[in-house]
């Protein structure tokens, strides 16, 4: 979708561009939806083990990351307001803040994963194999879901970088900001997914 | 359908026939009508096409009628199916075990058979157990079929009503020799059945099924069968102690299969290739730990020669 802005030059109006983006977001929702379905089924099969598994996760980091992502969503939304108000500097600053927050999120995530690796808690490991079946499943889902989510953050970061450059070069401006708008839609979706992931993985006691 | 041989056949056939006759009616009717139109309204004969666009009355009619017919079809199918999930009390139970690519029927107390032998007119429940991948136990003459899924407690039941031999198929794709995963259901009268059961040898349960699990895990079974079937490689059941003709770099020789040979076959399979087989097996050196290889070899050794 990264070339929507390019189309803008050829007369891709904002409405169509946004509509295309929303349709794309629907597919993302169902992509994660598949995982949520597996989660729901597995949780109904192993309620106790899921509880046990979630105790292993670091709620503090989870919460911190939630806060970070929510703030980044707000800055992203604000940058869209800024560009529409023709405040280029502010828009750029807000996009960069979002980017930094995203990277912070990844750093914490990396720390969390690394910790799991140190405990030899990763799919296929000896430690993992000796857990109860439901717990293996819990961690499997944990890695798959957060992993896919992290992948989306990384894609988002790339997108944000491009947006930042384009704002700087003024090819995104108060008249033509479809790419910024679509990137922010994408970014909010990533946030939306986390809004569900966080309680389901970290907070189920 | 062809003649059924169990209590469930009537329900299935009734639903099938119902749908079949209605379908035949519609297919022949609509096709006939189309042919009639093609004749009657052919451009040669009919130069003034009428320009009407539809009729609400007709739309409603041909929404409602098919709905009703479809629901009737559903109803018959459901009625035929309902008894299949209601196992009567006191049905005799047999464990049906599916593995790549054979069936085994466990009558309890170590009595196992490769064929399903049953007394006529008694309710039987088959507990379906898979030792590896999905299979499906189908006996068309009895109109039964259920998947055999690892980790699942699936079952089926029926009451055979006719003496005779019936084919058993595996109908869920399970790999190379799926089409060879056949067996027979033999329905005897109760005296004959009791005698058969009494004479059935008690097979000792194999000691280390861990070895078997390892062999599955390492995909040995995609080339070797444990049932005597020739797949890519030679079957591995009961080979211990047997003589085998192998081809080495210095020519053919006959060896007796012992523990050392079994290990060599896994670690460097292409040094001694069993005659008549291609040298396609890869070495498992470094792929499988020595410990695990030992377990597999132990398992192979303990296999009962049949």
């Amino acid at each position: 979708m990264s070339n929507t802005a390019h189309h803008a030059a050829h007369g891709i109006d904002r409405d169509s561009g946004k509509m295309g983006m929303w349709l794309f977001l629907f597919t993302e929702m169902f992509l994660f939806g598949g995982l949520f379905l597996v989660y729901a089924v597995m949780r109904s099969q192993y309620p106790k083990e899921f509880h046990e598994g979630s105790l292993e996760l670091n709620v503090f980091i989870g919460t911190l990351n939630s806060v970070i992502l929510l703030i980044s969503s707000a800055t992203m939304a604000a940058s869209l307001t800024a560009i529409q108000k023709n405040d280029k500097k502010m828009a750029l600053r807000l996009v960069l803040t979002t980017l930094i927050l995203a990277i912070t999120f990844m750093v914490f995530k990396g720390y969390e994963w690394n910790h799991k690796l140190e405990l030899h808690l990763y799919p296929g490991s000896e430690v993992m194999r000796n857990l109860a079946k439901g717990e293996i499943m819990f961690f499997g889902l944990y890695f798959m879901m957060t992993g896919l989510h992290a992948l989306h953050i990384i894609i988002g970061c790339t997108l944000l970088t491009i947006v930042a450059i384009k704002i700087k070069k003024e090819s995104i401006n108060s008249q033509n900001f479809l790419l910024l708008e679509n990137s922010s839609l994408y970014w909010h979706l990533v946030d939306l997914v986390w809004i569900f992931l966080f309680p389901l993985l970290y907070l189920i006691s | 359908m062809f003649e059924g041989a169990s209590n469930l056949a009537a329900g299935v056939d009734k639903a099938f026939d119902f749908i079949f006759y209605i379908s035949a009616f519609f297919i022949i009717g609509i096709t006939g009508f189309m042919v009639f139109i093609l004749f009657k309204f052919a451009r040669k004969r009919h130069k003034q096409p009428q320009q009407f666009r539809g009729s609400v009355k007709l739309e409603v009619l041909w929404t409602l009628i098919p709905t009703i017919i479809a629901l009737l079809m559903f109803y018959y199918g459901w009625q035929g199916f309902k008894p299949m999930r209601e196992v009567p009390k006191g049905a005799m139970e047999v464990n049906a075990i599916g593995r790549m690519w054979e069936w085994e029927f466990d009558y309890g107390n170590g009595k196992r058979s490769k064929e399903l032998v049953l007394p006529v007119n008694r309710n039987v429940k088959l507990n379906l157990i898979s030792e590896d991948v999905n299979h499906s136990l189908a006996i068309p003459a009895f109109r039964v079929k259920e998947d055999v899924v690892p980790g699942y407690k699936n079952y089926l039941w029926f009451k055979p009503t006719k003496l005779g031999d019936y084919d058993i198929y595996c109908t869920e794709y399970c790999g190379l020799n799926h089409s060879g995963m056949l067996s027979k259901a033999k329905i005897l009268d109760s005296a004959a059945y009791n005698q058969w059961l009494a004479e059935l040898k008690v097979t000792k349960v194999l000691p280390s099924s861990e070895g078997l699990a390892l062999m599955k895990k390492n995909n040995c079974l995609s080339c070797h069968s444990m049932s005597g079937a020739k797949v890519v490689g030679p079957p591995l059941n009961g080979i211990f102690g047997k003589k085998s003709l192998v081809v080495t770099s210095s020519g053919e020789k006959e060896i007796t299969i012992d523990e050392a040979y079994l290990k060599r076959s896994i670690l460097s399979p292409n040094d001694e290739v069993v005659k008549g087989f291609p040298a396609v097996m890869q070495s498992y050196k470094g792929v499988v730990s020595d410990e695990d290889i030992q377990k597999m070899v132990d398992y192979l050794k303990a296999q009962d020669a049949e």
């Binding site: 798959m144 | 009508f33 199916f81």
Partner: protein, 537 residues
């Protein structure tokens, strides 16, 4: 109106020339044609695999291939046919070519995305083929990739899964593009209910593509994760659930069968009015039934799993909805037949194919009902009856609609005519062969012959033999039909602008269409399929 386009006139084919101009084109018509050639090539190669399977099964026992090869063959046949040929099939070829024209637009909304999705498609297709030949075994899981076999088998399953994943992505992009196009690009005056039926069916299809395809994406990713990272979503030893895989797989793959058939229904809905010179009967009902099929079709996936140990009520529910979803198809059939009634019916090759479509689709549909019924399904599940059902409905339905569209729009696409005579002969052989090939498979299935069987018991010998002979006849028919089209591409008589006297927008522009379709964007003032002066020469 019948002014003949002279070949010297500029059109999309000679607008620019050279291979490069094709490979980088964003013209929807050229992209459609590139899809056409790719799909036909894949279709023919997969069809040859089908023929070889039939030859192998002519007599019991091993004849021309080993069991290993046979298994790899039906897997590749299934993967190509489903993911590479019929799922993109009609919408990518005729959808791309005719959707913008039919709604009076110059192109699709995102032309570059359109080209991208073509290349994604090609990449996926190549990956799929590559999985067969890259070292190790070719995948032999069947196109359904059922676990745990697909997670333990030693073959190149990951590559095949990735291929299906990539192809799904292409399908999503096409769907997305079409939805936006239909929403935003309709010509002035073309309200929703003045839109012809082919675009309507593409619209319903596109929604399924967007909303169902991601599910298969994530499912295949999970299988890949299971194989590569040892996460045991579906492995019972690790607490996973093999039947859950089947749920996820069919959540996509059942709606996918409607992705195949809906555009086919759209195409025949275009053909019947034209060759009867009479408006379509029950336009509104056909539109609504397309949308109903798309919606309800989402909820019947479990009818593929009736024997896999799902709960009693689950079977009940899925069987019930399966019967409900058949009703909109019934409505369409009645409306098509009524469209011809009272018309002035001209039995040209496209109409012949469209009528055969109805006939074969009915057989496929009713046997689908037999399968959807709980008790008969127990007997027929995973037998040759299922194989016959879906070949009737996919090949007989979607395939014949493809051929119908090919004969209907051929003059428009290339600006030349094929030989009617050879088209009739090809049809005759094809249709005969088709029925001889697949009808016996119903009988085999009823007798219990399981599918995906390399070998069979002697009692099935005669029926198998008849069926195999059918395959050879079908093969001949296809060759005749295709040769006719290929031969006349260069040598055919120049086609008029409107050879069939159709009234939809594609017939208002020259054949072949100019580069940007319309010199000036048309304004639509009336319902579609309005024949002011029917031509019945």
């Amino acid at each position: 109106m019948d002014n003949v386009t002279t070949p010297s006139q500029e059109n999309y084919l000679n607008h620019k020339t050279g291979l490069w101009s094709w490979l980088t084109t964003t013209d929807h018509k050229r992209i459609g044609l590139m899809y056409l050639y790719a799909i036909v090539i894949f279709f023919l190669s997969a069809a040859v695999l089908g023929l070889m399977m039939k030859v192998e099964k002519m007599v019991p026992g091993q004849t021309i291939m080993t069991a290993q090869t046979y298994n790899a063959m039906f897997t590749l046949h299934g993967i190509i046919m489903i993911f590479i040929v019929v799922v993109p099939g009609l919408s990518a070829v005729f959808g791309n070519f005719f959707l913008p024209i039919l709604i009076g637009a110059k192109d699709v909304k995102f032309p570059k995305l359109n080209l991208l999705s073509f290349y994604v498609y090609i990449a996926g297709a190549i990956l799929g083929l590559f999985s067969q030949f890259a070292g190790g075994h070719s995948p032999d899981t069947g196109w359904t990739f059922y676990v745990p076999y697909s997670t333990t088998a030693s073959s190149n399953v990951v590559l095949a899964l990735t291929a299906a994943f990539v192809l799904g992505f292409s399908s999503i992009l096409t769907g997305l593009n079409f939805i936006v196009t239909i929403h935003k690009m309709r010509a002035p005056g073309m309200t929703w209910f003045r839109m012809p039926l082919f675009p309507w069916s593409l619209y319903a299809t596109a929604w399924i593509q967007v909303l169902a395809t991601p599910v298969i994406g994530i499912t295949l990713l999970m299988v890949i994760a299971e194989r590569v990272l040892h996460i045991g979503f579906f492995d019972p030893a690790l607490g996973g659930d093999p039947v859950l895989y089947q749920h996820l797989f069919w959540i996509y793959s059942h709606p996918a069968v409607y992705v195949m058939i809906l555009p086919a229904m759209g195409i025949v809905s275009e053909i019947f009015p034209t060759f009867s010179q009479k408006p379509i009967f029950g336009y509104g009902a056909i539109v609504v039934s397309s949308l109903a099929i798309a919606l309800v079709g989402y909820f019947v996936w479990g009818h593929h799993m009736f024997t896999s140990g799902i709960s009693y009520w689950s079977r009940w529910f899925f069987s019930f909805l399966t019967f409900i979803v058949a009703v909109p198809s019934a409505i369409k059939v009645f409306n098509w037949v009524s469209t011809m009634y009272g018309g002035s019916v001209d039995m040209k090759p496209p109409l012949l194919y469209a009528i055969s479509f109805i006939f074969l689709f009915m057989i496929g549909g009713f046997t689908g009902l037999t399968l959807g019924s709980l008790a008969p399904n127990i007997q027929l599940h995973d037998t040759d009856f299922v194989v016959a059902h879906f070949h009737y409905i996919i090949f007989g339905g979607m395939g014949f609609a493809f051929f119908a569209a090919m004969h209907y729009w051929y003059p428009k696409i290339y600006g030349v005519m094929y030989s009617d005579r050879w088209a009739y002969i090809g049809w005759g052989v094809l249709f005969t062969g088709f029925n001889i090939l697949y009808f016996p498979m119903f009988i085999l299935g009823i007798q219990g012959m399981p599918r995906r069987y390399f070998d069979y018991l002697p009692e099935f010998k005669t029926t198998q033999m008849i069926s195999s002979i059918g395959a050879v006849i079908l093969f001949t028919g296809l060759i005749i039909m295709i040769s006719n089209l290929i031969y006349h591409r260069r040598r055919g008589a120049i086609a008029p602008q409107n050879p069939w006297h159709g009234v939809t927008l594609e017939w208002m522009i020259p054949s072949p269409p100019p580069h940007e379709n319309f010199d000036e964007v048309p304004t639509i003032t009336e319902e579609p399929y309005t024949f002011h002066n029917p031509v019945t020469k």
